[in-house]
Amino acid sequence: MSSSALEVSTRRGATSFFEVARLMLARDIRLALRKRGQLVQPLAFFAIVTTLFPLGISPELSRLREVAPGVLWVAALLSSLLALEFLFRDDAQDGTLEQHVLSGQSLTWMLFAKTAAHWVLTGVPLALMAPLAGMSLGVPASSIGGIILSVALGTVALSLIGSVGAALTLGVKRNGALLSLLTLPLSMPVLIFGARATELAIKGEGFAAPLYLLGAIAVLGITLAPLATAMAVRINME
């Protein structure tokens, strides 16, 4: 097969936006399943932190239930931060990120797809694990739906905020501390509204209001974060 023959057969057209996102998601899931350490590390951290708290505070369920929203959300925030280090690092090291820039596709869209894949691999497992961790802190079964919803929505925002930080610190060796410094202040509203939604869910009250605010932050993140991430990546490519 000559290169010109190949050209004819591949010139059918550029890959569509959604196909790019599908390829990105499929690739990252495949990679995560082959490198399970990166997938398991944030979850293990989350499980360890939330199960250690009862040992450190008190086995009394009423006391644990009071601190449960804060514990769950601080653990979720730190676990999410732990996973952020891997968001673009491997792609930058093996030259894949450079090829994203040179692909002729929208870099903003590609990095959004990459962040979405990151959320599927870290945010969704955290959201599913949070009720289990909550049980060890004495939260009632009726609050499970609220906890899952708030953590799922909150981790969307955390992944998007974190993607900007991860892109900005790409060129920095051992960038964990700097990444935390950049990301944590921006994550505070997510922590506050997420913990509030969880608290209301545990009390059996309506938690829609903080959930809406989390949703607003997530929408703002979806709108702005991929643009900022793409700009940061381009700068780091120089």
Binding site: M1, S2, S3, S4, L6, E7, S9, T10, R11, R12, G13, A14, T15, E19, V20, L23, M24, A26, R27, R30, L31, R34, K35, D90, D94, G95, T96, E98, Q99, H100, V101, L102, S103, G104, Q105, S106, M110, M237, E238
Partner: protein, 247 residues
């Protein structure tokens, strides 16, 4: 030491600054939509290092340019500037007569760039790597990927994880990616590295086919390009002035 970009063989013996190369190698007559790469007066600084000093070049359809030079002379920086990954302090790069910055995504769709290391994920197989790497650029079937891997002699290890492959085998997989991208412009950084004699011959054939089809190739390499039919122009980039003094 003064950085100087000179163009020698095969179009005359006397050293010429690349800024003059447009006059020596005029663009072929025809519409601007013809693939044509031009760089005008490129100046690039990396910190205190004046890496590119007024580099200019013109490459028309069917031409191949070999960029040679000592270590640190700026070969990779030149290639990365031509891709648009690096922003020169002065000068511009034109593709089909238009500044690449005006439509960077369009230019990148016409470009295939392979750096020092092939952009392959070590935990994926060559097949999976190509399905993703080239797949995000163009619609691609598994059959085409297999054909490309067969063409570069990588069929035997197409299902093995890339981390188990030798550097030369990875380079062959990257050549398959180059074929699949079907881009009119190839920018290759040290393309012969790690390739055995057979691999180098294959690279030469691929470059010959690319130029015969009207494509353009710019390759940064110390070694002579293993081309047979293509008349590769050779450009020498001398080491940059590291003093930081203005030119």
């Amino acid at each position: 030491m003064v950085a100087q970009s000179v163009d020698t063989s095969p179009y005359g013996g006397k050293p010429l600054n690349l800024r003059d190369s447009a006059a020596i190698f005029p663009m072929s007559a025809g519409p601007m939509s013809q693939p044509c790469l031009q760089a005008e007066n490129l100046h690039l600084w990396r910190g205190d290092h004046h890496v590119l000093r007024g580099v200019g070049l013109t490459l028309s359809a069917g031409e191949c340019l070999q960029v040679a030079g000592s270590n640190g002379a700026g070969k990779t920086s030149l290639l990365r500037t031509l891709t648009g990954l690096m922003y020169p302090e002065e000068g511009r790069v034109l593709w089909r007569g238009a500044d690449i910055r005006r439509d960077l995504a369009g230019f990148h769709a016409d470009l295939a760039y392979i750096g020092h290391e092939p952009p392959l994920k070590s935990d994926l197989t060559p097949r999976e790597n190509l399905r993703y790497w080239v797949g995000v650029r163009r619609e691609l079937s598994g059959t085409l990927v297999d054909q490309a891997l067969e063409r570069v002699g990588a069929t035997n290890y197409r299902q093995r994880a890339v981390r188990t492959l030798s550097a030369g085998q990875k380079r062959r997989v990257a050549l398959a990616g180059l074929l699949l991208m079907a881009a009119p412009l190839w920018l290759l950084d040290e393309p012969t590295t790690h390739l055995d004699a057979e691999g180098q011959r294959l690279l030469g054939v691929l470059i010959d086919e690319q130029t015969a089809g009207g494509g353009l190739v710019v390759a940064a390499t110390h070694q002579a390009l293993p081309v047979v039919r293509t008349l590769a122009r050779r450009v020498e980039l001398n080491a940059p002035d590291l003093s930081g003094a203005p030119p």
